[in-house]
């Protein structure tokens, strides 16, 4: 269980502090799949980075299973079972997929089925294990390997930042199954930042984050119904009807 208590985040800009997150309060429960959605610039990725320890909150506390981890660094949080799949994963010259996944699996590396891991993200292990995680991989391939790094070890909290770039190409059904497995095997809490309708459909709860605040927490059924009725706010644009023509990423 991950509790976000009164969390705020400020970013300095030319001497002016801009509030990115404003007094957020939320509890992510075990075995649940959350989708965080909302307009660009609403604070979604910032919240993910606060959870991983990449950003330090200006105020508030972060509690993991009763332990106050607010002042824990990235490594400490990783070792407590928090994982974050980057929106734009870095590339590494000279480091092979096998090595990266072995690091990701940590102490359990010997027992981890790297091939199965790649299969779970729709990649053929024979083709990919010995490839370098460098510029030779496409953006989609890189995103899938990034997802595999998060799934390589038993984790409590797995955060995926806009995974759609990598998963457009393969079966969503497979992704749904993979997430279900994570739940069943490890009781993992899954948090996905996404605008994608198909990803929203996997959610137990949907959090809409806008202007640094939780605008609403709702069910996937309600969000889907709103989308179907055309009544809901666009999830990606600030004030457009459906974001069409304004944001090429907008699919929902």
């Amino acid at each position: 269980m991950l509790e976000i208590k009164n969390v705020s985040l400020d970013v300095g800009n030319n001497g002016h502090n801009i509030k990115i997150l404003k007094d957020l309060n939320f509890t992510f429960k075990e075995k649940k799949l959350y989708v965080i959605t909302g307009p660009n610039g609403g604070g979604k990725s910032s919240l993910a980075k606060i959870i991983m320890g990449i950003y330090k909150p200006a105020d508030g506390r972060i509690i993991l299973d009763g332990l106050d981890i607010t002042n824990f660094d990235i490594t400490q949080r990783a070792n407590l079972g928090i994982r974050y799949a980057f929106q734009q994963p870095p590339r590494f010259k000279g480091i092979k997929v096998r090595k990266l996944l072995t690091i990701a699996a940590g102490d359990a590396a010997e027992k981890t089925d790297l091939c199965g891991l790649l299969q779970d993200v729709g990649l053929c292990s024979q083709d990919y294990l010995d490839r370098e995680v460098d510029g030779s991989l496409s953006g989609g391939e890189l995103k899938r390997i990034e997802m595999a790094t998060v799934m390589a070890r038993r984790v409590k909290i797995a955060v995926f930042d806009e995974p759609e770039a990598g998963i457009d190409l393969w079966s969503f059904q497979k992704l749904g199954e993979t997430f279900k497995n994570l739940h069943e095997k490890y009781d993992t809490t899954i948090i996905i930042i996404s605008h994608q309708e198909r990803i929203l459909s996997l959610a137990d709860e949907v959090m809409v984050l806008a202007d640094g605040r939780i605008k609403e927490v709702t069910s996937k059924e309600r969000i889907m119904a709103e989308i179907a009725a055309g009544a809901g706010d666009c999830r990606c644009g600030q004030d457009c009807g459906k974001g069409v023509g304004r944001n090429v990423d907008c699919i929902g």
């Binding site: 990235i74 949080r77 590494f92 990701a104």
Partner: protein, 306 residues
């Protein structure tokens, strides 16, 4: 006679755990100490200057030659001229390299001048590793010069590695490629403390359809200084590509001077050079997988220099 220290140096520069199989010539403190020849590979001491002639018979396949140099005395300057004749249609591995253990306060220097003739249709892999150690104040200096003539249809793979240990290095590599000859150079360099290293690689693509690929990766730490100068000279219809990447850390300095010279209308030459620090998102990613910052940094550098 080889001591335990000598064996350690040999392991560092030639991956040798013992006396190698195949042809070899081990030079220690300016003198040859051990040699083996095979039916196809002869090694002869030069009469007019220090050094050896290595003669590989045409058609020799799957054999190797090790010619390591080790220095374990302080205040020694060793200049050696080695000539390698790789007979037509051969496939061989040649491992050179120099390991210096300088125990004293005087400089120890080795200048190896290697000249290769890779005859028609031959394939040669040449590995050169440099290594230095020793607690004295004396510098460990290596100034290798490598000249390779590659005849028609020849393939040369050149691997040059120098990781720490050498205080001052000036490396010059000159290669001439004839018709259809292929060249792949990989260079790996890491300097730290106040070490200085300079690498100059000139590749002349003389023959039609000759190709050259140079991949140089380096890491400069502390107050060390590195300088690279690469020039691909296209004199015929040819293709050449230089990729030169450096990671800069601390107060180090890196200079990269690219040059590509096309002297023929159908010469296609590309030069890419980049210098930068370790990207913070690389460190953050590895830390988010449970590594400490130091472990993350080491992992990035190790991969980069692999």
């Amino acid at each position: 006679m080889l001591t335990a220290l000598d064996n350690e140096l040999l392991e560092k520069i030639a991956d040798l755990h013992n006396i190698p199989i195949g042809a070899y010539n081990i030079r220690k403190n300016g003198e040859g100490v051990s040699r083996n020849t095979t039916a196809n590979i002869d090694i002869i001491t030069k009469k007019d200057q220090p050094g050896i002639d290595v003669r590989i018979k045409p058609g020799t396949k799957g054999e190797s030659v090790h010619v390591p140099v080790i220095m374990s005395a302080s205040g020694l300057t060793d200049v050696v001229y080695n000539t390698f004749e790789v007979g037509a249609g051969s496939e061989v591995l040649i491992v050179a390299g120099c390991g210096i253990h300088n125990p004293g306060d005087q400089n120890s220097q080795h200048d190896g001048i290697h000249h290769f003739f890779v005859r028609e249709g031959s394939r040669m892999k040449y590995v050169e590793k440099h290594y230095g150690e020793g607690k004295g104040k004396g510098e460990r200096i290596l100034n290798p010069k490598t000249i390779i003539e590659v005849e028609a249809d020849g393939i040369v793979e050149l691997e040059m590695v120098q990781i720490k240990g050498v205080d001052h290095a000036e490396r010059v590599t000159e290669i001439h490629l004839q018709k259809n000859a292929r060249l792949i150079i990989t260079e790996r360099l890491l300097t730290y403390l106040s070490q200085e290293a300079e690498s100059k690689i000139i590749v002349e693509l003389d023959g039609e359809d000759s190709t050259a690929q140079v991949i140089s990766r380096s890491v400069a730490q502390d107050h060390s200084k590195q300088k690279f100068y690469f020039n691909l000279v296209g004199k015929n219809k040819c293709r050449g590509h230089v990729q030169c990447d450096s990671i800069i850390m601390h107060q180090a300095k890196v200079f990269s001077i690219p040059e590509i010279s096309a002297l023929h209308q159908e010469a296609q030459l590309v030069h890419e050079a980049a210098i930068g620090k370790i990207a913070s998102d690389q460190l953050i990613k590895l830390m988010s997988l449970g590594l400490s910052e130091k472990e993350a940094e080491d992992t990035v550098l190790k991969g980069f220099l692999k």
